[in-house]
Symmetry: C4
Amino acid sequence: MSKKAHHPSHSVVSRERITDQDELGLERLIFFSDAVFAIAITLLALDLRLPSGGGSPSNAQLLAQLLEIWPKYLAYLVSFLAIGTFWLGHHRRFRFIRRYDRGLLTFNLLFLMVIAFIPFPTSVISESGNRTATIFYALTMILGGLMLAALWWHASWHHRLTDPGLDARQARRQFVPMLLTVALFVMSIGLAFLNESLARFSWLLVVPISRFGQRG
Amino acid sequence: MSKKAHHPSHSVVSRERITDQDELGLERLIFFSDAVFAIAITLLALDLRLPSGGGSPSNAQLLAQLLEIWPKYLAYLVSFLAIGTFWLGHHRRFRFIRRYDRGLLTFNLLFLMVIAFIPFPTSVISESGNRTATIFYALTMILGGLMLAALWWHASWHHRLTDPGLDARQARRQFVPMLLTVALFVMSIGLAFLNESLARFSWLLVVPISRFGQRG
Amino acid sequence: MSKKAHHPSHSVVSRERITDQDELGLERLIFFSDAVFAIAITLLALDLRLPSGGGSPSNAQLLAQLLEIWPKYLAYLVSFLAIGTFWLGHHRRFRFIRRYDRGLLTFNLLFLMVIAFIPFPTSVISESGNRTATIFYALTMILGGLMLAALWWHASWHHRLTDPGLDARQARRQFVPMLLTVALFVMSIGLAFLNESLARFSWLLVVPISRFGQRG
Amino acid sequence: MSKKAHHPSHSVVSRERITDQDELGLERLIFFSDAVFAIAITLLALDLRLPSGGGSPSNAQLLAQLLEIWPKYLAYLVSFLAIGTFWLGHHRRFRFIRRYDRGLLTFNLLFLMVIAFIPFPTSVISESGNRTATIFYALTMILGGLMLAALWWHASWHHRLTDPGLDARQARRQFVPMLLTVALFVMSIGLAFLNESLARFSWLLVVPISRFGQRG
């Protein structure tokens, strides 16, 4: 009964009410985040465009154009998986979060700022696959991973906002996939100096890596 | 009481809580999907543009321009119906889904990747109505249908994630409209070698076909 | 207890469950619609663009450019109010809707197809304020009004999907603002042959008109 | 029990039902607003574009291009924080709102019209950092702050729509951060006549200012 914490500052309004409102507030926060994720992930497709040529192409010409832009498809795929993985990570951590405070709102907003930014490096890398583009992309992902880690650190530190039933080891284990993801992208920056393509293909490891430490 | 399954891995947190959270998690999944559907369907309109000509056109010129882009209206209509039909299919299947697991999250994400992709082939086909564009469009729809079928197969296999009250025949029957839709688009690829317009008009059959096996 | 209708076709699943799911289904429908409204209304702003000129303008030049595009601001304002009014109309009618069927899903989808289309005539009219643009815009709004009327007719006919407590007079009264809105836009087409600006300013009447018959 | 107000005009439908529907209606309003916020905040990234140059740039050229557009990053950051702050302000005020009426719907719609408009002045200021652009941006923010203040005034006046437990002092205190924000942007217009950069950097004060009067 007394499990749920209250914002002590709003004591004028009856406690029960506020608790309901707190849950509504947390729901709004999650909802708003989901909407930003959904929009960012769908906007990725706006970058899929044929090279604007004059006139109506023949069947063979159009086929050539469709095949020619394969780096755009790859960029779409990688960024879709990346935003999807971030969404899953957000999803999984918020399963254990029961309350919110201004710090959580702020960290969440900064994290979303990175998510909404992702279509830009995606666009850059689909235009030009060189080393600068590769590093720019990797840096964005590193920032995203660090923001999510900061959010979780803020929320889980001494059970500040998490479920009291969540044990400390489980809370710490949540950092593993995030830090592995950050490490992967840091490493890919090194790889980019050897071979840009290799660096970019290494990013597909984000999918298996994001599972580490989640089960059992 | 024991009808609902739990994620056994999170046994530290009290059972009741987790069940609530599971429902919240499923809601977030559905919500996120709906948002992607809604954005993809609304972005279709971004492709409606007049040919950029200089100066201010006369009444007759503007009318001619508005009529001239009829393939864009047709593409908008067909893709709106297609995404709408996919949404209805998703909607209908998730009525029977009670739980989620990582597999469902992954299949759902892949399915959404196709949905968010649809504005691109729509844009291609509204620019150029040739055979290549027609086949490209049909292939996208086939992929979408197969993804939804894979999602449902994953969810309904041995009642993995579905309501226990859903009988096996009813579960299997859900495949009928999806496979008919896939068959329709496969067939339209054949038609495209005879007549592109015929192929594209055949797509309007997606609306009646998607109803098969739904009632009674 | 027996107030709520069921989809008789799904009798295998326990009744209670299905009723819950029906409410969830109706929520998803409303949610999906709201998302389409929100996206369409926000995309209106994408059309606000300065004429792309070379170099960096002076303070006076930029001010002139910002003032020069006043028809775009007007179009933004009118379409924002129009989509907002349609949203309010949708909102108000769905307060009385308790169930859904395939007909409602279809009418709703067709209605949303018009809503998502609105940014296009808005863009046309903000580029060129001539008679053709004015009529094209008005026709879109007429179609939207008729679709919403069809949706409400489908839902409220013999209490098919509405609350049993809604009396017939109240149900019929809901048609008044929709039909007045349609009449306004029909009339504005006539006005457009006299004076395009007059026709467009008449649209601002949509705000007071949409209130008719709502209270008391 | 009698705490919640009803729309007296809909007395035909049973009271209990309408109350539930009222809450649903308020939820839809909040949801719709959140979606508009989320879309507007994510659309900001659409403005991040490299200067379209021919051919594939070298590593050094691309790096130069990425650095060259720093005013776009700054504009993205400032507008993300501004929309985020408006969202928090909306969020915080709606925690105390229990009912809605047509006035609230209208003020909310006008407020959202400003929010959805923000990407435009953001785009203007990221193209050209001169005084006119600075003032145009500040005026938009002032309008947003005034709209939110009007909304709160409408809702909290004599507890029209707010929780009865909210005391008058607390209600009035909600105006403080909004009016300080408005004052900040008014002041920045004055600063813009001295130094445009100074004016724009002063906007970062919006983050600490928005906290005033919120706690204790």
